[in-house]
C-alpha cells in the first residue's frame, strides 16, 4: 500500500494519466501541489505569464492533440484570471481540466485572503466541477474530471482544491483508478438505427442536398468517414468555422465555410438546398442569420452528440443523437451499393453551384496593386510559403476571418480559433500549446496588433521554453472588425477602434531576443515569410502593415436569410 499526501497524489495521478504538459502559475493555495510537481520530472510544467494564457495554451494543446489540456492555478485571482480561457474552451467544447488551489477548508466563506468561490464563478462555463472535501477523494475525483472532460461532448472541468487537502503531513492510500463509473453520466455511443435509416433514405432522394458539418466532426474524430460519405454521394459540403479542414478544402466538393463571413457559394447553396445534412454543428447565430428565413426549402437532418443542440434554434426533421463517427459509419454502410434517386437533379444542382462559384472568381478582394498591403494577400502568401500545412491559430476579428477565408486547410485541427466565445488574446498562447505538441511542424499565429497586445506577455514564456512559433501581425493600427461595423452601422464614427500609441513591435520583439521583420510592401512580403519559416524552432515576428480601410466580405445582411450578403463595399446580393 502506498501512502501519499494529497499534493503527491495529484502529481502521481497526472503521471499515471499520461499528462505530458501542465500550464500554470503558482500561488499560495497551490504551493503544496507545486512542490509535489517539483519533486518529479515526468509531467512538464510550463510557467506562463498570466493565467488566461495557461488556459489558452492548454486549449491549443488539446485541440491539436485531441487530449485534455491541463491547467494549474492558485485560488482567487489565479483562478479568476483563468475564467476567460475556461469559457473559451466551453464554447468550443474543448476537453480541459483546470486544477484550482483554494484557501483552507476552515477559511472558506470567510472572505479569506485570495478566496473566490471559483466553482460558483465558473458554474455556467464548465461541463462539470468538483470540490475536494477529503484528500482520499483526490484520485477518484481527478479520474472523473478527466473522463468527463474528454468523453461525450467534451468540455472544461474545474477541480477546486483547498490547501489543507494537499498538506504534506497527511497521507492516504493512493491507487490509480483505472476505470470510472458514474450513474448519472452515460454518453451515447451510437445513434438510433431507425433514424439513421430514415436520414439515409432522404439523402438518397434529395435533389439539392448539402452537407453542413461542424466542430463535432473534428472533435469526434470522424473526418475520414465524413470525407468518404461525402465523396460516395458526390454532394456538396460546407463547414462551420470550427469544422474547417474536416473535409479537404481544396477538393471540388467543398464550398468553403458558411455563415456571416462564409463563402458566397456556401450560403447560396444552403439557402437553395432541399436537404441540409448537419453533423456536429449547432446552427448558431453566426451561421443561420435570421432563423425565420433560414433555408426556406430545406428539410433538416441533424446529427449531434448533445441532444440539447438539436432543435435548439432550428427544428430538425430527422434528429439523430449520437457520436459523429459511428453515425457516419452507419450511414456509409447504408449508402453502400445504393444509387441516388435523382442523378439528373444532382447534376443540375452542381451546375447551379458552379455558376455561383464562377460569379465570384477574381472578385473576392481588390489587390493592393502597389499600395498598402491587403490582409488577404498576406494570408494567401502565408498559405503558399507553408504549403497549406501549418497549424494556424488566430485571435479574433478581421484577421481571423481572413485567415479562415484565404488559408486553404486540407486537414482537421489546423485552423485553431476561438469560434464560439470569440476571445481576443487566444491565438498566441494557443500556438505555444500546439508547438510543444508538434515541435517539428510550423505553428503560426495570425493576429492583429489589438489582439496580440492582450497576451503579448507570453513572449517571455516562449523565451523561457524556446517555443518557436511564428507570429504574423496584420497591423492596421485599428480594431478592424469593430471599425468595419462602425463603417457600416455608425456612419464611420470610429469610436475607440483606433490604436494610437502602438509600441515599436520590432524593438519590443528584439527586447525578448527574438527576430522581428517589418513588412510594408508586397515585394517584401514573400521573402520575409520565407525567412520567418526557414527555421522551425525560431520565434519570428512579422509586423505586416496592412490596409485599415479593408472590410471582410462576404458579409451577411443582419436579419436577412443565408443568401442576403454584402459582397463588397458596393455590391450586394
Amino acid at each position: 500500500m502506498e501512502l501519499l499526501s494529497g499534493a503527491d497524489m495529484i502529481a502521481r495521478f497526472l503521471q499515471d494519466e499520461g499528462v505530458e504538459y501542465i500550464y500554470g502559475y503558482p500561488g499560495g493555495a497551490a504551493l503544496h501541489i507545486y512542490d509535489a510537481l517539483f519533486r518529479q520530472d515526468k509531467v512538464k510544467h510550463i510557467l506562463v505569464r498570466h493565467e488566461q494564457a495557461a488556459t489558452h495554451a492548454a486549449d491549443g494543446y488539446a485541440r491539436a492533440s485531441g487530449k485534455p489540456g491541463v491547467v494549474l492555478v492558485t485560488s482567487g485571482p489565479g483562478a479568476t484570471n483563468a475564467v476567460t480561457g475556461i469559457a473559451t474552451a466551453y464554447m468550443d467544447s474543448i476537453p480541459m481540466v483546470v486544477l484550482c488551489g483554494q484557501v483552507m477548508s476552515h477559511l472558506i466563506g470567510d472572505d479569506a485572503f485570495q478566496e473566490t468561490d471559483i466553482v460558483g464563478v465558473t458554474r455556467p462555463i464548465v461541463k462539470h466541477s468538483f470540490s475536494i472535501r477529503h484528500p482520499s477523494e483526490i484520485p477518484d475525483v481527478l479520474k472523473k474530471a478527466f473522463y468527463l472532460a474528454a468523453t461525450g461532448r467534451p468540455g472544461p472541468v474545474v477541480v477546486d482544491i483547498p490547501k489543507d487537502m494537499t498538506a504534506p503531513t497527511e497521507r492516504y492510500e493512493y491507487i490509480y483508478p483505472k476505470k470510472v463509473k458514474m450513474r448519472s453520466y452515460n454518453p451515447v455511443t451510437r445513434g438510433h438505427t431507425g433514424q439513421i435509416k430514415k436520414a439515409v433514405d432522404m439523402m438518397l432522394k434529395a435533389k439539392r442536398p448539402v452537407f453542413y458539418t461542424g466542430g463535432g466532426v473534428v472533435l469526434g474524430k470522424a473526418c475520414e468517414g465524413l470525407t468518404d460519405l461525402v465523396q460516395r454521394l458526390d454532394y456538396p459540403i460546407t463547414t462551420t468555422l470550427m469544422g474547417i479542414g474536416a473535409y479537404p478544402q481544396s477538393d471540388r466538393q467543398c464550398l468553403g465555410w458558411l455563415g456571416m463571413h462564409g463563402s458566397y457559394e456556401s450560403n447560396m447553396a444552403m439557402h437553395h438546398a432541399d436537404l441540409v445534412i448537419a453533423i456536429g454543428a449547432r446552427f448558431d447565430d453566426r451561421v443561420t442569420n435570421n432563423t425565420s428565413k433560414f433555408c426556406p426549402t430545406a428539410k433538416i437532418i441533424h446529427v449531434d452528440i448533445d441532444p440539447s443542440s438539436i432543435s435548439k434554434t432550428i427544428r430538425a426533421d430527422v434528429p439523430i443523437v449520437g457520436p459523429a463517427a459511428s453515425v457516419i459509419n452507419e450511414m456509409i454502410s447504408l449508402v453502400q451499393g445504393q444509387d441516388i434517386a435523382n442523378p439528373d437533379a444532382l447534376a443540375q444542382w452542381w451546375q447551379q453551384i458552379e455558376g455561383w462559384r464562377a460569379e465570384r472568381v477574381g472578385k473576392l478582394y481588390e489587390p493592393s496593386d502597389g499600395g498598402v498591403l491587403k490582409s488577404q494577400e498576406v494570408v494567401e502568401a502565408l498559405c503558399r510559403v507553408t504549403h497549406g500545412e501549418a497549424f494556424v491559430t488566430t485571435d479574433v476579428g478581421q484577421h481571423q476571418m481572413f485567415a479562415a477565408q484565404y488559408y486553404k486547410f486540407d486537414k482537421p485541427n489546423r485552423l485553431i480559433t476561438s469560434g464560439g466565445l470569440g476571445t481576443m488574446g487566444f491565438g498566441f498562447p494557443a500556438a505555444m500549446g500546439i508547438k510543444q505538441n508538434y515541435p517539428d511542424d510550423h505553428v503560426v499565429c495570425v493576429t492583429g496588433e489589438g489582439s496580440f497586445q492582450m497576451m503579448m506577455q507570453e513572449l517571455s514564456t516562449c523565451k523561457q521554453y524556446a517555443i518557436g512559433v511564428k507570429i504574423v501581425n496584420l497591423n492596421n493600427a485599428s480594431l478592424g472588425m469593430v471599425r468595419q461595423w462602425q463603417d457600416l452601422n455608425y456612419k464611420s464614427r470610429h469610436a475607440h477602434s483606433y490604436m494610437e500609441s502602438l509600441p515599436d513591435f520590432h524593438k519590443l520583439i528584439e527586447a525578448y531576443g527574438f527576430t522581428a521583420i517589418t513588412v510594408n510592401t508586397l515585394d517584401e512580403l514573400e521573402p520575409a515569410l520565407e525567412r520567418a519559416f526557414a527555421d522551425k524552432h525560431e520565434l519570428v515576428f512579422l509586423d505586416v502593415k496592412v490596409d485599415p480601410h479593408e472590410h471582410v466580405y462576404p458579409m451577411q445582411v443582419p436579419l436577412g436569410s443565408m443568401r442576403d450578403m454584402l459582397l463588397s463595399k458596393t455590391e450586394r446580393t
Binding site: S129, Y185, D306, P307
Partner: protein, 163 residues
C-alpha cells in the same frame, strides 16, 4: 403551458445551484421549486414547475438531463399525475370572522394548527389551484402571512421515477 418536472439527482453540495443556475443562465423561468433527500440518502428529488411552449420545455428537459448531477427526470404533466402543495397561512380571526374562518377551513378540508385569541394558523394541502382558491376566500378576512412549499408531484399508476 405549465409543466411539473421532477428530477432525481445526486445529493451533493452544489447540485441544487447547478439546476437553479441553469434556469437563469438559459433564460427559463421557475414558478416553484422544492427539493429534499429521498429514501436513499445519496439521492435528492427536486420538483420544479415552469412555464413554456413545447420547444422551451424540450430545451429545459434536455439541458437538465445534461447536468452531470441529474440522473433521471420526468415531466409529470405529460401523463396522469398527482400534484400537491402544502401551505401554512396566518389569518385574522376576530369577532364574527372567527367562525367564518373556521367554516371556510372546514369547507376546504384544511386544518387549524395553531390558535391565538386574534388569529388562526391554517394548514392546507392540495393542488395549486385549491390553495389559490383558499387564499381568495380568505382575502376579505385578512391574510397576515403565507408560507407555501411549492408543488410536489408523483405519477399515477405503475409508473415509478427511480434508479
Amino acid at each position: 403551458m405549465r409543466h411539473i418536472i421532477s428530477i432525481l439527482m445526486e445529493n451533493e453540495p452544489g447540485a441544487l445551484s447547478r439546476v437553479v443556475g441553469l434556469f437563469s443562465q438559459r433564460n427559463f423561468n421557475i414558478e416553484t421549486l422544492n427539493v429534499a433527500a429521498t429514501e436513499d440518502p445519496s439521492l435528492s428529488r427536486l420538483t420544479v414547475t415552469t412555464v413554456g411552449d413545447d420547444r422551451v420545455i424540450e430545451q429545459i428537459t434536455k439541458h437538465l438531463n445534461k447536468l452531470i448531477d441529474v440522473i433521471k427526470l420526468v415531466d409529470l404533466t405529460e401523463g396522469n399525475h398527482i400534484e400537491r402543495e402544502l401551505m401554512l397561512v396566518k389569518v385574522k380571526a376576530l369577532g364574527a370572522a372567527r367562525d367564518e374562518v373556521k367554516r371556510t377551513v372546514d369547507i376546504f378540508r384544511a386544518q387549524i394548527v395553531d390558535v391565538t385569541p386574534s388569529l388562526y394558523t391554517v394548514q392546507i394541502t392540495g393542488d395549486a389551484t385549491k390553495l389559490d382558491a383558499f387564499l381568495q376566500a380568505m382575502g376579505p378576512v385578512g391574510i397576515l402571512e403565507v408560507a407555501r412549499t411549492g408543488v410536489s408531484g408523483i405519477a399515477r399508476g405503475d409508473k415509478v421515477l427511480s434508479l
